[in-house]
Amino acid sequence: MSKEPHTNHIVSFSNQLKVWIALLLLTWLTVTIAYIDFGNLTLSIALLIAVVKSTIVLAYFMHLKFDSKILTVFLILVIVIFAVFIGLTFFDYALR
């Protein structure tokens, strides 16, 4: 029992290639969109695409979608802690 690998899930070759192509398309989109002027939204759009890309990497390449859910819970907790850091810092900056 203890010798069993923790995951028996195999991501197929074709699914890995699809994820790779999706990430390349999103990279192309980021670079293309950077040259269009959306004013204040430019940075938000770039960050939104980065968040989509990292979610794909985390779910498929880093296998979170198929692993124990506790890893995802921990990751969300870390993101919340980081969001609190950001919130407090910007709060401080805004009230100076």
Partner: protein, 213 residues
């Protein structure tokens, strides 16, 4: 009857002589990755505040970076992330040779990334655009901040690329000598996780450094 059952039970206990807990080892790797996320997260926070305080200077600094080198390096890293992920599929399907070759492609990609970085930094050093350089010293405060953060964040990321490539090399050797197999590949998975983290950080570094002009 009952004695034969207890005999086989004893034999079974004696066969389990290797201590191994892949789930725990993966959780340990993730805990380490969380500290890495907070490390780079803090730097991104510093970047955001200074950018808010100096928007024009950061845009001016960013406009001197070469978007095509940044984009090529993004494609190189994403591809190398894919090759590591596919090598795990390969080892699970007992395709050892394919797994090793994919890991070697990953190391090659890391080398391409660092060579690009060498030319990129080298060009800036020639222009004197580095902390203490002639062109750097005459810049206004905000643009200096941009370059300091640019060197520190991409430099720290580059260090991670080198460490990650070394880890992948070690894993490739373990696959070759049969220490990583189709039902025992925790080290390959954990080294892969580290490599994907390097990719993950670059996904945010690229737009924030190169594309805000």
């Amino acid at each position: 009857m009952s004695s034969s059952i207890s005999n086989s039970a004893i034999t079974a206990v004696h066969q389990v002589d290797e201590h191994r807990d892949d789930g725990a080892s993966k959780l340990g790797m993730w805990l380490f990755l969380f500290t890495e996320l907070i490390l780079f997260g803090g730097l991104f926070l510093v970047y955001s505040i200074y950018r808010l305080m100096n928007p024009e200077a950061f845009a001016a600094g960013s406009s001197h970076l070469d978007v095509s080198i940044g984009a090529i390096n993004t494609i190189v890293l994403i591809t190398s992330s894919a090759t590591v992920a596919i090598s795990i599929t390969a080892i699970q399907l007992k395709r050892k040779k394919l797994a090793i070759n994919l890991l070697l492609v990953t190391i090659l990609a890391a080398a391409i990334f660092m060579v690009n970085k060498y030319f990129e930094w080298g060009h800036k050093f020639e222009l004197g655009l580095f902390p203490g350089g002639d062109a750097f010293n005459v810049l206004e405060g905000g643009e200096k901040l941009f370059y300091v953060l640019y060197y520190f964040m991409t430099g720290l990321h580059g260090l991670h690329v080198i460490i990650g490539a070394a880890l992948i090399g070690w894993v490739a050797w373990e696959v070759k000598v049969g220490k990583q197999t189709h039902d025992n590949f925790a080290f390959l998975e954990n080294a892969g996780l580290y490599w994907h983290l390097v990719d993950l950080i670059w996904i945010f570094l690229f737009p924030l450094m190169y594309l805000i002009a």
